[in-house]
């Protein structure tokens, strides 16, 4: 039953003893082999094996630690009643052209004149020409700042639209269309020049390879200038009303009307109408898929009211989005063709990423240093736009028209900020080239909903139904509209769920602490049959015990040296049995309340020889197996007898 050990860890007289003791008694497997093996080669082999096992453990555990923050993806499909998304519908043309006449007449005249001057295009109406002439006489300097220019063959001369004068171009030339393809042919290029108002030598010329782009871009620039001065209420009136846009509405088998739509004013698209915006607190849901149970609307496009220079395509734009998402209709809208039935089947996917430390995404956007100018939930798009707007306000002193206003700022217009266009173009270029740092600051949102759309088009109304359909729809539109509707003024739109399966893609942590520890345990066990206990043992033996031995020996040396000095080289052997000395010598022994007498006697021994010839006293037996104390006195007595 008894196990006698020559020495215990801390009492081991030397380090090598300690090591030997450790190796024999440790729970890890390799060490024991080292001590037990005979023959140098075999011992060496075991040392190498043990060390490589330790190395492997360290390596594998490091790998485990490094891969700790990895995520696994799970996809679940749930078949359930689905919330219907918000559907925002805009006419492509923002404002009724007839209502805008008073604001835009000058700009339009200017544009027409440019067309005539540069391309010889005229509408063939004397009226137009006359009005152009009128304009020349009235003479507003409004457009003179930024005239359209005809650049001739890179000779750095340009023809001004009004004066017809050629002037030298200073500053850099930007090709708005393509930076890659340099239009090297000798065609005249049209563009416009933006100058820094404070420093007129700092100019940038924006040129386009096609006059269509140039004129549209130039028109838009002035248009935004004008629109920025009109207050929001007026603009809402100028745009389409819900009655104008929506002819019929049908949702989930029931009729709906304009009260199911919320108005939303978009700076570039005018009045847009959001179906199921959730503003009244309820969000509609669908419990049946299929085209009959979705949203079916007939839109009145009213092509006659289109602005000929601002928009060149006709139809409507829709976007399917979540209720608390901002509809970036200009960026990700789907266009709807007139005189056709557009059927849009949706498939709902929800995704969720793990935020830090797994990936660099943001849950709410609260940790992004960009103020959210839209009162909708965070998205990358919102962040980029807000970031740009902030930079715009900071550097140009006014806000860009297409984005919401930050507190205390106002929209740029030519009267107050004559410099803004130049500033805007410069800034926008920086933004696109990622020099503003917005792309670095903004992170993507961790969770997002996505509606995958399948769009298909059918002819509508069909030839045979066209007649009655148009008649009835004209009647629906109201008696005030006496003319029969044209089918190119109408668009039919169906938005529905293809199926009620919701795909939920989520990231889950691949590892938990429990699994990590299990893997550690597996590695430790596999290579060395080690455990935390072994680790504690190692700490105990290699640090605490070794240190105590080293300290003890140093202390003894010091003591010896001191005594030698004191006693004047008497060469007396150290006083044996000095309890105090013993206590200092072996601090561990003080802890143990067992007899120290004999222990003290023997301790200095190792200094003479590593293997004491005389048997050490029973001290180990003394504290050995304290559980057997009842038994021990007996043996002790016998011994002493």
């Amino acid at each position: 039953l008894k196990r006698t050990l020559p020495v215990r860890g801390p009492q081991a007289p030397t380090l090598s003893e300690l090591m030997r003791w450790y190796c024999l008694n440790t729970n890890t497997h390799g060490c024991r082999r080292i001590v037990v093996s005979r023959g140098r080669l075999r011992r060496l082999l075991w040392i190498v094996l043990t060390l490589s096992a330790v190395g492997l453990i360290l390596w594998q555990c490091a790998e485990l630690l490094m891969n700790y923050y990895s995520a696994s993806v799970s996809v679940t499909v749930q078949f359930q009643k689905l919330p219907f998304p918000a559907v925002t519908i805009c006419n492509i043309n923002p404002y009724k052209y007839s209502a805008m006449k008073e604001y835009l007449s000058e700009l339009d005249k200017e544009t027409k004149k440019a067309l005539e001057t540069f391309y010889g295009f005229s509408e063939g109406k004397s009226k137009v020409r006359r009005s152009v002439d009128d304009w020349n006489s009235t003479g507003s300097d409004f457009f003179q700042h930024i005239p359209l220019l005809k650049v001739e063959d890179f000779s750095r001369t340009a023809t001004d639209l009004h004066t017809g004068q050629k002037r030298k171009i200073e500053g850099s030339v930007f090709h708005k269309d393509s930076s890659i393809v340099n239009s090297g042919d000798s065609n005249d290029i049209i563009g416009f020049q933006l100058c820094d108002a404070n420093n007129s030598s700092d100019c940038a010329l924006y040129t386009f390879s096609s006059g269509v782009n140039a004129i549209q871009e130039w028109y838009k620039l002035h248009y935004m200038n004008i629109m920025a001065q009109i207050p929001l209420e007026t603009k809402e009136k100028l745009s389409y009303s819900a009655d104008d846009l929506l002819l019929t509405c049908f949702f989930d088998g029931l009729s709906c009307d304009k009260r199911h739509f919320t108005r939303f004013h978009h700076p570039l698209h005018g009045n847009c109408y959001t179906f199921n915006s959730g503003d009244n607190g309820t969000i509609l849901s669908t419990s049946t898929g299929g085209s009959e149970y979705g949203l079916q609307v007939v839109l009145y496009i009213d092509e006659a009211e289109y602005n000929p220079f601002l928009v060149t395509s006709s139809g409507a734009k829709i976007i399917v989005h979540d209720q608390n998402e901002y509809p970036f209709i200009e960026d990700i809208g789907t266009e709807i063709e007139p005189a056709a039935a557009t059927s849009i089947g949706m498939h709902f996917t929800r995704s969720r990423k793990l935020s830090k430390p797994y990936s660099d995404c943001t849950e709410t956007g609260a940790d992004i240093p960009v103020e959210n100018l839209y009162n909708k939930s965070y998205s990358l798009q919102i962040c980029l736009h807000s970031c740009f707007q902030k930079a715009m306000v900071d550097s140009c002193g006014c806000a860009q028209y297409a984005q919401p206003l930050p507190a205390g700022a106002e929209y740029c217009n030519y009267k107050k900020n004559p410099n803004w266009m130049y500033c805007y173009y410069r800034l926008h270029e920086k933004f696109v080239k990622e020099q503003l740092g917005c792309q670095q600051i903004c992170k993507d949102a961790c969770s997002f909903k996505e509606w995958a759309l399948t769009t298909s088009i059918a002819q509508w109304p069909s030839i045979v139904s066209e007649d009655w359909m148009l008649r009835v729809l004209s009647w629906d539109k109201g008696q005030k509209l006496n003319k029969k509707l044209n089918k190119t003024d109408l668009a039919n739109l169906m938005v529905f769920y293809k199926d009620l399966n919701e795909r939920f893609i989520s990231e889950n942590p691949a590892n938990t602490l429990v699994i990590l520890l299990s893997n550690f345990g597996g590695q430790l066990g596999l290579w060395m049959s080690c455990s935390v206990v072994c680790v504690i043992e190692i700490v105990e033996v290699f640090f605490i015990d070794s240190l105590s031995i080293v300290l003890r020996r140093q202390w003894q040396k010091a003591k010896k040296w001191w005594r030698n000095r004191q006693q004047g080289g008497l060469g007396k052997a150290p006083q044996a049995g000095d309890p105090e000395r013993q206590g200092h010598d072996n601090p561990v022994c003080i802890d143990e309340d067992l007899p120290t007498f004999t222990t003290a006697l023997r301790l200095p021994l190792p200094q003479n020889s590593p293997l004491p010839r005389t048997p050490p006293p029973n001290y180990s037996t003394l504290h050995l197996e304290t559980a057997f104390t009842e038994q021990l006195p007996d043996t002790l007595e016998l011994d002493q007898h």
Binding site: I457, P615, P616
Partner: protein, 645 residues
């Protein structure tokens, strides 16, 4: 007695290792177990012993806690998904093509004659309310009308809306007994200035009497007329036998003008005809019902399916469907095409190219997720099984609805297949069916029941389509193309086709034609065992054997208890018997020890041993340190020898 002796001996032999008291047992266990902590407890000094005791306890509880977490994780049946994308030879999807219009108007006109005249007259009244031209020669058959009339609801005055039957001049103010179903346009005070004719609310009354009526409101006349027409024509057509309906629909040879699959020509005979209630005759290519499904092993339009269809728009039923085009759908082999849900349109006069990506989701069934492999465990009778098609969630939902319809209204709806022994609803046999149907259709409860009882399939396949369109035929090629196609179809030199009828379709696999998300169990039993082992090993260096050791100790302690109890009983008996003896009776353990353990005699040093055996020489002599120290490897020898002695 012999037996008892034998048992005792066996017992003693058994107990030789662990010892005879709990303490001995514990010490023996701690010393010999393979778990790492306990050994430390007994091999250290008192203070460290305490520390190790608590450490061991801590580690043991940690191990159990973590085991609990691991087992919990295992029982939650998590899955991990793996995604693969690429191109492989795959079954070409089944392609269903239909005409948006179900029947040729020329064929159904006799049936719908009355209805059409009625609606024309009604439209006339609506559009020109003043001059009602009553000069039509045949009087209108108002029987159809009277069942479900179209009315005009003037909700100018919100509290008593005025209801105006289109064919009658008298205005009826709605009393309280009629339930105006103001679902959509109930509170339209905002529409004040417009003469609000919430047009076309059609009261559908249940057949018991007129007191149970609902008005279905429509904000638009166009919609009201269409809905009304669909309802009426449904009722008329449901009486027509199926073969007759098939005859009235578009025939394959008329509709499918040209077909090319890869390099191989195909024709309308390669299509399987199926009757679809919404779209009449539909034709399915590559359905895989009779023959093997076709494979496609090349991406690109050249290797896909090319079709030229004619939808003959002139022959459309004017009031039934206002959108013109072909309806098509890609679906799996042997599944029923639910065109209203998944179908797309193709416009006449265009070439529509559809690039296909097969998006598959393969899931594991119970207990990992709640899905069904083949629908056999869904409590809804699948009515679409009569088409020999596989289970799908749409089939389940529709079957569920039809079953409810049959249960509540007593007849089946025309749009869905019929269960055994039930007929379709029509106005003659089931006068109240329209009311019953619309109340059932708008019932949220019924839908929820169906949603709850239907389960999605485990293998969800979607065909992601990239659709693009171009005008076809081009103006230059128009003439000869129409000529050839007409000639091939009708064997005549007259051009019978025009831009408003022809459709070209290209359906092909994209460069990457599959995206498969497949699930695998995140936690298997192997994972669980290795994690459990890892935990146990990590904290205590233990293994299953250690658990067995522990179990052994428990058994041992039970043994000891038994021995103690036996001894105690004996002692009691003996005490009673030797009540007259002055000295205290020996304790049980003493007695037991006395039998075997030679080292235990010292307990009462002065006392004379009582038991039969004399105290032998005390224990083993203390170890020979000298030898121990000089040849350490040998120290084990005597030890183990002594143990096994």
């Amino acid at each position: 007695m012999n037996l008892k002796k034998y048992l005792v001996r066996a017992l003693h032999r058994l107990q030789k290792g662990p010892g005879y008291t709990y303490k001995e047992l514990l010490v023996w266990y701690c010393d010999n177990t393979n778990t790492h902590g306990p050994k430390r407890i007994i091999k250290e000094g008192p203070k460290k012993k305490l520390m190790w005791f608590f450490l061991t306890l801590l580690f043991a509880s940690l191990v159990f806690w973590q085991w609990g977490i691991l087992i919990n994780t295992y029982l939650s049946y998590n899955v991990t998904s793996s995604l693969s994308i690429g191109f492989k030879t795959m079954k070409f999807p089944a392609v269903t093509v239909c005409n948006a219009n179900p029947f040729k108007y020329s064929e159904v006109r006799p049936l719908l004659k009355e209805l059409d005249r009625l609606i024309e007259a009604a439209l006339e009244r609506i559009l020109q309310p003043g001059n009602s031209s009553e000069d039509e020669s045949p009087p209108l058959d108002l029987e159809l009308w009277n069942q479900i009339p179209l009315v005009l609801i003037d909700e100018h005055d919100k509290d008593n809306p005025v209801i105006l039957d289109i064919f009658e001049t008298n205005q009826t103010a709605v009393g309280n007994d009629t339930n105006v179903n103001n679902d959509a346009a109930g509170d339209n005070e905002t529409m004040g200035n417009k003469i609000m004719n919430d047009f076309g609310a059609k009261p559908t009354c249940s057949h018991q009497g007129s007191d149970n009526c609902t008005y279905r409101n429509f904000s638009s006349a166009a919609q009201a007329v269409t809905e009304w027409y669909i309802l009426q024509s449904t009722s008329i057509l449901s009486k027509v036998p199926l073969h007759e309906r098939i005859r009235m629909g578009y025939q394959a040879e008329d509709m499918i003008l040209a077909c090319l699959y890869g390099a191989e020509p195909c024709n309308y005979k390669n299509f399987t005809q199926i009757y679809h209630p919404d779209h009449g005759n539909c034709y399915i290519f590559n359905w895989g019902m009779d023959e093997e499904a076709l494979n496609s092993s090349n991406p690109g339009a050249e290797f896909g399916l090319k079709l030229i269809l004619d939808i003959s728009q002139q022959d459309y039923i004017p009031y039934l469907s206002s959108a013109a085009g072909a309806r098509l759908m890609l679906h799996q082999q042997k599944s029923f095409p639910f065109l209203k849900d998944q179908g797309i349109y193709a416009m006449a006069g265009t070439e529509t190219s559809i690039g296909v990506l097969v998006d598959e989701l393969e899931r594991m069934g119970y207990p990992y997720s709640d899905c069904t492999m083949n629908g056999s465990d869904v409590p809804v009778k699948n009515l679409y099984s009569q088409y020999n098609t596989s289970y799908s969630i749409q089939a389940c939902l529709r079957s569920c609805f039809q079953n409810h319809m049959v249960e509540i209204c007593g007849c089946g709806h025309y749009m869905f297949p019929l269960p055994e022994g039930v007929t379709y609803c029509n106005n003659e046999d089931n006068p109240g069916w329209a009311y019953c149907y619309s109340s059932l259709r708008s019932s949220i409860k019924q839908r929820q029941i169906c949603i709850d009882s239907c389960k999605e399939t485990c293998n969800d396949t979607q065909y992601k389509m990239t659709i693009s369109m171009a005008d076809w035929p081009s103006e230059a090629s128009e003439d000869w193309i129409f000529h050839i196609l007409s000639y091939e179809r009708d064997m005549s030199t007259n051009v019978t086709l025009d831009r408003n009828g022809v459709i070209k379709l290209n359906i092909y696999f994209q460069e990457y034609n599959y995206r498969t998300i497949s699930e695998s169990a995140a936690t298997t039993i192997v994972w669980l065992l290795s994690s459990l082992g890892g935990q146990f090993g990590f904290w205590m260096g233990g293994s299953v054997l250690c658990l067995i050791e522990f179990g052994e100790i428990i058994i041992d302690s039970v043994w000891i208890t038994i021995i103690n109890i036996i001894g105690w009983c004996k002692g009691l008996k003996q005490r009673r018997a030797r009540a007259r003896y002055p000295d205290a009776p020996p304790t049980v353990s003493e007695l037991v020890e006395a039998h075997t353990n030679l080292g235990f005699q010292h307990e009462v040093p002065g006392a004379v041993p009582r038991a039969g055996e004399l105290p032998p020489e005390p224990g083993t002599p203390p170890p020979n340190y000298d030898s121990l120290r000089v040849r350490p490897p040998d120290t084990l020898g005597p030890d183990s020898n002594r143990d096994t002695e």
